[in-house]
């Protein structure tokens, strides 16, 4: 108890945190004083050894990890609970959304999904000029960044090319804010070339938006649709994900004597333990927490039956290289065809296991596989199935090495392709790379333009100038602009919490 009190005191007195950040960390510590949902001994041990991981979501899951409300409901019907009438004008619609966001919980306490904004706002734009639309979106964007400062908050636009999507792209490139994150759903049939070209220009300008392969995603979900939230998680609309658990493939590979043993015994064993962990957390959320009595359910913003379980994996690169070592093979992940093929085989085996393992209180009765993009304290474990930072081959080889994984990861997978800043003279190249990636089966296209002020660390945006300012104050590591290999250092630097952060990466105080 003494240790706990000391920790609480250090949070309360931490001068680098603002009061809201302190409140969040204090609440997490309080939650974690409660006993964990009941786990069998094997699962508990695997969790303690972090072979499997609950993302430090907390001991009492009283809200789903990700909530994707269907905001059409509140825009078309208003809200009795929030005492909101049906909006009639664009101002009223934006105002309704601005209020709604503050009532949508998530693992970080901030909304991770703020809607398919073009589809939501277009019905209110008939009498609004392009100039007015631009100005209203600009103020809306400023509001989002300043009041909901989380880099995981995610807006979606597309797949159609429309006025609102264009206004958002224009504003986003001008303001270069960290929040909100932005994805363009792209479908060659519905989107056309022009909005894709605009997106290419925006990426060259500010590394946003991500581009999602709409045709592939749409197929994995149903008519009600899907949304892209947080760090490229793809989830049912009007639902979300109850939980995200993940398997550290590096730790699994270390515990296997050989490749054969890995596939026959070690991997299936730890996958099963992760399923058990997942079920225990979901049971608590559904059966104990009372979350689903919320007005969000009764008013139809979300549907209790549309919450999936995200089954995450990471450290594929290390796992493959460990197994290669155990088998006496030299080829490294990302560069050697044999090593890459081993990685693809691991993904296929995990996908089979997820398909064959029923889960209770989960959308369609099965988890969705997710290539998990990391936590700030992951060391020597590369996010998802990515190639380790700083060692990636050129973007085309990069895509070709990883594309075969993408078919398996319905709940999202993303690779960060680093392109040097010459591309600012040639954004058409980004468009072409995107087309090539999608033709090869990529679900998501994300680019870091080296030297751009906004860059991605594990998948969320940081502003290099923020880091430089911080460094200058400390008098160390000044003028650092090197990318890639230093990404880990950067996340460390960000422990000082700039105003806008990726809250999911820091699941607890001191983590």
């Amino acid at each position: 108890m003494q240790d706990t009190l000391r920790k609480l005191r250090s949070i309360a007195n931490d001068a680098t945190l603002n009061p809201a950040q302190k409140a969040r960390y204090l609440s997490l510590e309080a939650e974690n004083l409660l006993p964990y949902p009941s786990l069998d001994a094997e699962t508990r041990q695997a969790l303690d050894e972090r072979v499997i991981c609950d993302m430090y979501e907390g001991h009492a899951p009283y809200k789903p990890r990700y909530v994707l409300p269907d905001y059409r409901v509140v825009l078309q019907e208003g809200s009795e609970y929030l005492e909101l009438p049906v909006p009639a004008t664009l101002d009223e619609a934006i105002n309704t959304l601005m209020i709604a966001y503050h009532h949508v919980p998530s693992v970080t306490g901030m909304p991770v999904y703020i809607g398919q904004l073009d589809e939501l706002l277009l019905p209110f734009c008939a009498d609004v000029s392009d100039d007015e639309l631009y100005e209203k979106i600009r103020l809306f964007w400023r509001y989002l960044d300043r009041t909901l400062p989380d880099a995981f908050m995610h807006a979606n636009i597309g797949p159609t090319d429309n006025r609102v999507a264009r206004a958002i792209l224009r504003v986003d490139a001008e303001l270069k804010q960290i929040a909100p994150n932005l994805t363009l759903l792209y479908d060659p049939q519905a989107s056309g070339e022009e909005i894709l070209a605009m997106a290419g220009n925006n990426i060259a300008e500010c590394c946003k938006p991500h581009i999602a392969n709409h045709a592939v995603h749409a197929q994995a979900f149903d008519e009600r649709g899907y949304g892209i939230v947080s760090c490229y998680n793809v989830l049912p609309l009007a639902g979300g994900a109850s939980t995200l658990t993940r398997v550290n493939l590096k730790e699994v590979a270390r515990r296997a004597g050989s490749e054969d043993e890995f596939f026959a015994a070690t991997l299936p064993h730890f996958l099963e333990l992760n399923f058990r962990l997942t079920q225990a957390r979901i049971d608590y959320l559904f059966d104990e927490s009372g979350f689903f009595d919320s007005f969000l359910v009764t008013e139809g913003w979300i549907d209790k039956d549309r919450f999936t379980a995200m089954f995450g994996v990471f450290a594929m690169a290390e796992a493959v290289n460990i197994l290669q070592d155990k088998e006496g093979r030299e080829g490294r992940y990302g560069f050697d065809e044999g090593a890459n093929a081993l990685g693809h085989r691991i993904s296929a085996a995990i996908a089979d296991a997820v398909r064959d393992r029923p889960l209770d209180k989960v959308w369609r009765g099965r988890a969705l596989l997710h290539s998990q993009a990391g936590l700030s304290d992951d060391s020597d474990a590369t996010p998802g199935v990515r190639i380790p930072y700083g060692t990636e081959p050129d973007p085309v080889s990069h895509v070709r090495a990883l594309a075969p994984h993408h078919q398996y990861y319905d709940a999202g997978i993303s690779e960060i392709l680093t392109v040097d800043e010459s591309v600012t003279n040639n954004p058409e190249a980004l468009v072409q790379l995107c087309k090539g990636a999608f033709a090869n089966g990529f679900r998501e296209f994300t680019v870091n333009v080296a030297s751009n002020d906004l860059v991605r660390v594990t998948g969320y945006m940081v502003r290099l100038s923020d880091i430089r300012r911080f460094n200058d104050r400390q008098g160390s590591r000044t003028n650092t602009t090197v990318l890639g290999a230093e990404a880990a250092d950067r996340t460390g630097i960000l422990d000082r919490k700039p105003r806008v952060v990726g809250n999911e990466l820091y699941p607890g105080y001191g983590q």
Binding site: V396, N425, K435, G436
Partner: protein
């Protein structure tokens, strides 16, 4: 078609600096200029199979077979020590490709590609290969939509251009200097053919980009910039002018004595061009 072979220094399946979009770039070995500022000097010469590079190769990737250099790409670890010792700026790691092999590569990477660029060296020295390759690309269904570009120093006569232009979508042309004497000093050849090529290509609507390398104290002074402005004005219409900045990366020892071109210096030259009415001026995004 496949009997025509080219000597290839390098092939890139990802390039964002050799024309619009992402391109397959084939660097052909051998150049008819000998530019001091060349940042790929090992593409200039052609191997005479003297064998001087063999002892420099610590990976045993080079040997003499029947009096000719044999190169084992699997043994090579790309240290480039052989390039350092080559007395004639050639490259023992070159490979011969026929058109079919390049087409196969283009098909394999088709979804990623906006087009194909032949560069060098000076690609027009292997013009028959280039023409045959471009014809083959244009008539290959799987490669429909790929555009074909040439990156050239312009040292090619009108009949040469006439043979390749029908299957060429654009040319990026370097003018090293507008003063013939300075051009000879910088490249070993006069500039007449290059200037004529630029006019011919512009008139044919195939001059994608006119490139000009700024070297401090050599090509960035008033008379040169004025020469560039007058030349571009003389072409008429909209010409995309790319200003390149001389840097030390890759150049031979003599040119390392020269000052690298600063971003501010390029900015001043670009401002001068724009003030003279040349709207489409592109500056480097990266200085390395």
């Amino acid at each position: 078609m496949n009997s025509i072979r080219a000597t290839v220094s390098k092939i890139l399946t990802y390039s964002i600096v050799d024309g619009p979009g992402n391109r397959l770039v084939i660097f052909l070995q051998g150049c008819n200029f000998d530019c001091a500022a060349c940042h790929n000097p090992h593409t200039i010469g052609e191997c005479t199979h003297c064998g001087d590079c063999i002892p420099a190769c610590h990976a045993d990737a080079l040997s003499l077979v029947d009096g000719r250099i044999a190169f084992d790409p699997l043994a090579c670890d790309q240290c480039d020590d052989c390039l350092e010792v080559c007395p004639i700026d050639a490259n023992p790691m070159v490979r011969e490709y026929n058109v079919g092999e390049i087409l196969a590569l283009a098909r394999e990477h088709r979804p990623f590609l906006t087009g194909v660029t032949v560069s060098g060296g000076e690609p027009t020295r292997q013009l028959r290969f280039v023409t045959t390759l471009f014809e083959a690309i244009k008539s290959d269904e799987a490669l429909e939509g790929l555009d074909c570009f040439i990156d050239s120093n312009g040292n090619l006569g009108a009949s040469g251009w006439e043979s390749v232009l029908p299957v060429t979508d654009g040319v990026m042309l370097d003018i090293k200097s507008f003063d013939d004497a300075l051009h000879r000093e910088l490249t070993g050849k006069g500039n007449l053919k290059s200037l004529q090529s630029a006019r011919l290509l512009h008139d044919a609507g195939k001059l994608y980009e006119l490139r000009y390398l700024l070297v401090p104290g050599k090509t960035d002074h008033d008379a040169e910039l004025e020469g560039l402005i007058q030349f571009v004005r003389g072409l008429g219409g909209d010409v995309r002018v790319r200003l390149n900045a001389f840097q030390h990366h890759g150049v031979r020892p003599n040119a390392r004595e020269w000052q690298p071109m600063s971003k501010a210096g390029v900015g001043r030259a670009a401002a001068r061009l724009r003030a003279a009415g040349i709207r489409n001026v592109v500056e480097p995004a990266v200085y390395v």
